[in-house]
Every structure is written in structure tokens, then in C-alpha cells.
């Protein structure tokens, strides 16, 4: 390395000479890995050498691919696994599943999909070779289908089959026919040889005598109807329509720390672990945060899935929202806003889960109008962990601190982060009871600060306890092992990999005029 100056070498210059060259072999391997990943991208333009018969043989290629897929499917051994868990209400299982407890019920499927059953509905679940099949015998269901990594999710009634890859829709099976309405995404409805594609807000009935209700009326029975409708409104939003707070007060926390606080009756307070000074207050008429950064507001507004009020640090680490000046991550703001009458309706549980699409849009509008925020989506390749399992994993290993094992008081919920009593600061547990890996993996990802790709192949429900030292510190020795060792105790392993994720980039943001 040559230093191109004639000054006397000093600190900076000697350090500049320390820029290192990468190991050639590592670089060559990285190049090949990168090219393989890029070739798997849908937009990848192939190299120019293309056989002249390419165009003519597309059908033949498709036929061969279909034959291979068929062969793979035919040779795959049948799976024996638990397909669902009841997460709300009561369901009785005889030959089929019945929500006959007088109330609706919600089933969670292994892939993360949720099925909301109207009271009196009846269905059965079967594993098809190309996905999961829900046979709806009677009643109404709302399906929130997780994105299917392999195959499809099917809903079948006596006269139609609905296939989806990832969406929210409602199906009704009546003695005279079936109705399907779409809330989000797209579904394909097949009736005999006729196939029709439905988009948000569209619906179809198999029998002309069946009355088609509006989607709002179709899902009115659901306790989560407001959430579904908000989703639909978001998708069908006309240019003139918008979700916005009525009145907004924004002040720098430095000038006004905590002033004006005091929620109305019935306000929910959520401990804000994301840099705020005081709990977040949200009730149907008011939204208030104190000492919260714009970055956290952006994560709440643009994030998908749960709002991890207590885990923003990990989300920051995962870099789902990047860009923007430093002040959006450091300067705290007090924001109080009036929510338009009758525009929000939610339960505390929905609030905790972040199941509030309309509130999210209101925060988006506020960010756009007062902070002049503009955002852009971006696909990124990021470092991730691959989670793999030994044969027979996960084992039920009992750490000393959970001496009761399956009878331990901590072993009571499905999946949760937990800190057992008597644990040294920095030691944490993860409990998975009767849980699907799709529920465990997001928690693990937040704990390690990277996306985790589930490659365990575990389809059924699992029980295990992890107890580990999340911040090893020689000055404070712990009896808990590091996470890698704790995972090893239950037969799981994290190893380096890469994955492609969708992220948000802050393109523009300005400090607001305070009021």
C-alpha cells in the first residue's frame, strides 16, 4: 500500500496504511455465493447464450417440470402431525372441528395462518401434497393465510375450491351454495371448470339465489371485524380518503418533558421499551407518546405484524428501517393527538399485537404531514441465522432454574419471553409450550437481532425451555450457558446464513413546527 503524500507520517497516515486487503479465497467464494443468490431473483436477466429452441420448447419444459413435481410429490412420505391449535374460543373435535360453543373461535395453523370460525361452523383440516386443505362443511370462516413458502392453502366447500398463497378472505358454506369475499390479497376460486380471481372487496356466490351481502356485513359476526375492515379500507383507499388524527400537538421532549400527560378514562398504557420516557397511551379517542423518537414512530407506522413496543432495539439491529439523519434516532418528541370519533375500535390484546392497521395509517399520515417523511421500500440481502434441528429435536431439557419442568409455573403459556425469578440480570428464558416453530422463530430473531430462517423441518407442535445468558460478562459469571449452548441442549442450532428481506428506507424527514 502506498501512502501518496509527502507529509511526515503521523497517526492518521500510519492508520491509513492499515487498510487491509480481503483474503482472495474468501472473496472468490463470496462472489460465487452472490451470483447464485442473484440468479434466483425473479428479475435476474440470464446470460445471453440461450438455446434456439428455448421459445418453442417452453411447453415441453413446463411439462417436464410438472412431471418432476408430480414425481416428488408422489414419492414424498405422508406426514403425521398436528395441524392446528385453538387460540380463541372453544372448538369440539369429533370427526370434524365444530365451533359450537355459542361464540366464534380462532385456530392457529402450523404455518402461521389463522382461521376464524363463526359460531356453529364446521370444518376439517387435511394435509394435501401441495399444501393444507380446509374442508368447510358449513358456516363461515375468515382465513388469514400466512404467506405459503411451499404450495397453497386451499379452502374447499361442496361446490368450490379457493386457493391462496397469502391473503385474508371469508368463505361461507350454505346448504344452497357458497360465498367468498376477499379482504386482502388475491384468491382463485374454482367452481367446476370455471376459475375466477377475486381481489380485495370483491365477492362471488355459487348460486344466483344466494344474497350477496357487503363484505362489511359478511364479516360482522367476527370480533375482529373492525381490523379486517380497516385492512380492506386501506387497500381500497380512494385518493381523496385518508386516515388522520384530528388535532395533533408535537413538541420536543427537551422543552416539555411529560407535560400534559394524563389519559382519558379507559386509556390503555403500554410500557414503552423503545426509548420513550413514559408509557404509550392509546385509547379510542387519543394517541399520546412522550419522549419517543421519530424512528420508533416509523417502525410502528410501517412495520408489519406485531408492534414490538418493548423490542425496538432489536428491530433497529435488524435494520428493517434504515436511512434518515441521526436526530430521528436520538431526539425525543412528545406527541398528543385526537383520534377521530368512532374511527378506532380495538382490544388491549390487539393493541399489544399491533393489530391496528388504521392507527398505523394515522401515524403514517402524521409523519408525512408534520415531519414530511417519505419512505421507500427496498429489498436487501442481510446476514441471518439458519435454525436447524437434530433428529428428535427439540428435546425437553430442564434448566435448573425451572426445576418443576413441565409442572413449573413458568411453563404455562404458548410462547413467551421470560425472566425467571432468581435469574441473574442478563439471563433470560424462552418458553415454548404446545407451540409451532413459526411462533418461536420470531422471538428468537428478535433476541439475536437478525432474521432467523426456520430450516428445522419441524411441522408439529413443540415443547421446550431455553434458559441462557444473553450478555456474557466475565465480571458477573452466570450459571446459564450462552444461547448457542442452550439451543444445543434442546437439539437446535443457529448457524450463519443470508436471506433477502423487505425493508423501509427513510428518504426524507424534517423537524416539525412545534405547537
Amino acid at each position: 500500500m502506498t501512502i501518496h503524500n509527502h507529509e511526515r507520517p503521523d497517526t492518521a497516515d500510519s492508520h491509513l496504511g492499515l487498510f487491509r486487503a480481503p483474503p482472495e479465497e474468501e472473496m472468490a467464494q463470496a462472489e460465487e455465493r452472490a451470483l447464485r443468490r442473484l440468479r434466483s431473483e425473479p428479475r435476474y436477466a440470464p446470460a445471453p447464450a440461450r438455446p434456439p429452441l428455448w421459445r418453442m420448447s417452453r411447453l415441453a419444459v413446463a411439462g417436464a417440470a410438472a412431471a418432476i413435481v408430480f414425481a416428488v410429490i408422489a414419492l414424498r412420505p405422508p406426514r403425521s402431525e398436528t395441524l392446528f391449535r385453538v387460540v380463541e374460543g372453544e372448538v369440539h373435535q369429533v370427526d370434524s372441528l365444530r365451533s359450537d360453543g355459542g361464540k366464534s373461535a380462532v385456530l392457529a395453523l402450523a404455518d402461521g395462518s389463522r382461521i376464524e370460525m363463526r359460531a356453529g361452523s364446521e370444518l376439517s383440516l387435511t394435509r394435501a401434497d401441495d399444501g393444507l386443505r380446509i374442508l368447510l362443511n358449513r358456516g363461515d370462516i375468515i382465513v388469514n393465510a400466512a404467506k405459503q413458502r411451499r404450495g397453497h392453502l386451499y379452502v374447499q366447500t361442496k361446490d368450490i375450491t379457493v386457493s391462496v398463497i397469502g391473503t385474508v378472505f371469508v368463505v361461507n358454506a350454505d346448504k344452497d351454495g357458497s360465498r367468498v369475499a376477499v379482504i386482502e390479497g388475491e384468491v382463485r376460486v374454482q367452481q367446476g371448470s370455471v376459475e375466477k380471481t377475486l381481489r380485495p372487496g370483491e365477492q362471488i356466490a355459487t348460486n344466483p339465489l344466494l344474497t350477496l351481502e357487503s363484505v362489511r356485513e359478511e364479516i360482522a359476526w367476527s370480533p375482529h371485524a373492525e381490523t379486517h375492515l380497516a385492512l380492506l379500507q386501506q387497500i381500497n383507499q380512494t385518493p381523496g380518503a385518508r386516515d388522520a388524527f384530528d388535532v395533533i400537538s408535537i413538541r420536543s421532549s427537551g422543552k416539555n418533558a411529560g407535560a400534559g400527560r394524563g389519559g382519558g378514562q379507559g386509556a390503555y398504557s403500554i410500557e414503552n421499551g423503545c426509548g420513550g420516557l413514559l408509557p404509550i397511551e392509546i385509547d379510542p379517542g387519543r394517541f399520546a407518546v412522550f419522549g419517543t423518537t421519530v424512528h420508533n414512530l416509523i417502525i410502528w407506522a410501517y412495520g408489519t405484524g406485531e408492534i414490538h413496543y418493548g423490542s425496538c432495539i432489536n428491530l433497529n439491529a435488524m435494520n428493517f428501517v434504515s436511512g434518515g439523519p441521526d436526530w430521528i434516532r436520538t431526539e425525543p418528541w412528545d406527541i398528543q393527538a385526537v383520534v377521530p370519533a368512532r374511527s378506532l375500535d380495538f382490544t388491549l390484546d390487539q393493541l399489544r399485537r399491533g393489530d391496528l392497521p388504521r392507527l398505523r395509517r394515522m401515524i403514517q399520515t402524521m409523519l408525512a404531514e408534520r415531519f414530511k417523511v417519505t419512505m421507500r421500500r427496498e429489498t436487501k440481502s442481510v446476514a441471518a441465522y439458519s435454525l436447524t434441528a437434530e433428529k428428535g429435536a427439540p428435546r425437553f431439557f430442564v434448566p435448573d432454574i425451572y426445576a418443576g419442568g413441565r409442572e413449573d409455573p413458568a411453563f404455562k403459556k404458548y410462547v413467551w419471553d421470560e425472566r425467571p425469578s432468581g435469574a441473574r440480570p442478563g439471563d433470560l428464558g424462552i418458553i415454548a409450550k404446545d407451540a409451532f416453530m413459526s411462533e418461536v422463530v420470531p422471538i428468537l430473531a428478535r433476541r439475536v437481532g437478525r432474521p432467523v430462517v426456520d430450516e428445522t423441518g419441524i411441522a408439529g407442535k413443540v415443547d421446550f425451555i431455553l434458559y441462557y445468558d444473553w450478555a456474557p460478562n466475565p465480571a458477573r459469571p452466570s450459571t446459564a450457558p450462552p444461547l448457542a449452548k442452550a439451543l444445543d441442549q434442546v437439539g437446535l442450532k443457529l448457524s450463519d446464513t443470508r436471506t433477502v428481506i423487505e425493508t423501509w428506507v427513510v428518504e426524507k424527514v424534517e423537524k416539525p413546527t412545534e405547537n
Partner: protein, 178 residues
């Protein structure tokens, strides 16, 4: 450096169109991007991460036909992405489990060298993007003032001034941390 192009048969039309050859561009520039990212971050993993992101963005976000100077675009993207990564890491609390998967602590000497490198990378991250671009071209890729000026489309004088100022800033920054 020239842009790679390929003749590609348009599948649904009976004409041939000229498309830039992504794979050719990838092969031509990947190592420059990787070396740049490695120079800024000092880490193979980060360099791979940055290079992957830069080419993914290229694939998804830009029309290849519009490229006049892919070398400059890719180089700038590599520097910017690397600086963003370093700055984000500085902001990120270092109390997460990622650390648990790191290799065991180095010996004292290796640790000292590692610390020196870390300080250098942090110091570079304190520079403006343009200044960092020029600095890395000089000290990682060993370009002359004239070569840098040609690549970035500016004058040799601008490059010399930028390098002088960057060195002065780094000196100040590093002294404050020694």
C-alpha cells in the same frame, strides 16, 4: 471501463434487443465492490453483505440501459452502503446475542490491532460520503489522483484538496481516541 452488453432474444417478439448483461457487469465489478466494502468495514462478512445489497439494488432498482458509468455507480454505492452499515452499528447497543456467536477473544496483540482497525473504520465513517469515496479509492485501491478524478468525473485539484482535508480530519479524530 466498458459496460457489458449482450444480444438477448426477446421471447415474444421476432426481434433482437440489446440489453446490458447483468452477469457480465457483476463479474466485471464484483471484486471492486467487495474490496471497497472490505476496505471500509474491515470484515469479510460485512463486505459480502454490502456487495450483495449493492447488486441486488442494481438488479431491482435501476434500468441497466441507463448506465453510463457502472463502475462509478457501483463504487459509490459500495462506499455509501458500507458507511451506512458502520454508522448503524455504532448506534446499535452491543448487548445482543449476535456477539455470542463471535469467535473467542483474540490475544492481546491481535485485540490491539483489531481495536486499531475498528478506530480507523469509525474515523472513516465520520467523514462525508464524497470524502470517504476518494479516501478509499486512494488507500484501498491505490488509485492516483488522476485515476480518481476520471472515475468520479471531477478535477485532480478537487481530489488533492479532499484527500488533504480527510487526512487532517482523521488525524484529529484518531488523536482524540488514542
Amino acid at each position: 471501463m466498458s459496460t457489458a452488453h449482450a444480444i438477448v432474444e426477446a421471447p415474444d417478439q421476432d426481434i433482437a434487443v440489446v440489453e446490458p448483461d447483468f452477469e457480465g457487469i457483476f463479474r466485471e465489478h464484483y471484486r471492486t465492490v467487495y474490496r471497497t466494502a472490505y476496505g471500509v468495514t474491515g470484515s469479510s462478512q460485512d463486505a459480502e453483505d454490502v456487495a450483495q445489497t449493492v447488486f441486488l439494488r442494481l438488479l431491482h432498482g435501476r434500468s441497466l440501459r441507463d448506465w453510463k458509468n457502472p463502475a462509478a455507480y457501483l463504487y459509490r454505492a459500495a462506499v455509501n452502503e458500507s458507511l451506512t452499515l458502520i454508522r448503524a452499528r455504532k448506534r446499535r447497543p452491543r448487548d445482543h446475542d449476535v456477539e455470542l456467536f463471535a469467535v473467542p477473544a483474540d490475544s492481546a496483540a491481535a485485540g490491539s490491532a483489531k481495536e486499531t482497525h475498528r478506530r480507523l473504520y469509525e474515523a472513516v465513517a465520520e467523514l462525508g460520503r464524497k470524502a470517504a469515496e476518494i479516501l478509499i479509492l486512494r488507500y484501498v485501491h491505490d488509485y492516483s489522483d488522476a485515476q480518481i478524478a476520471k472515475l468520479l468525473g471531477t478535477s485532480r485539484g478537487t481530489i488533492a484538496v479532499s484527500l488533504y482535508r480527510s487526512r487532517a480530519r482523521l488525524r484529529k479524530f484518531l488523536r482524540g481516541r488514542l
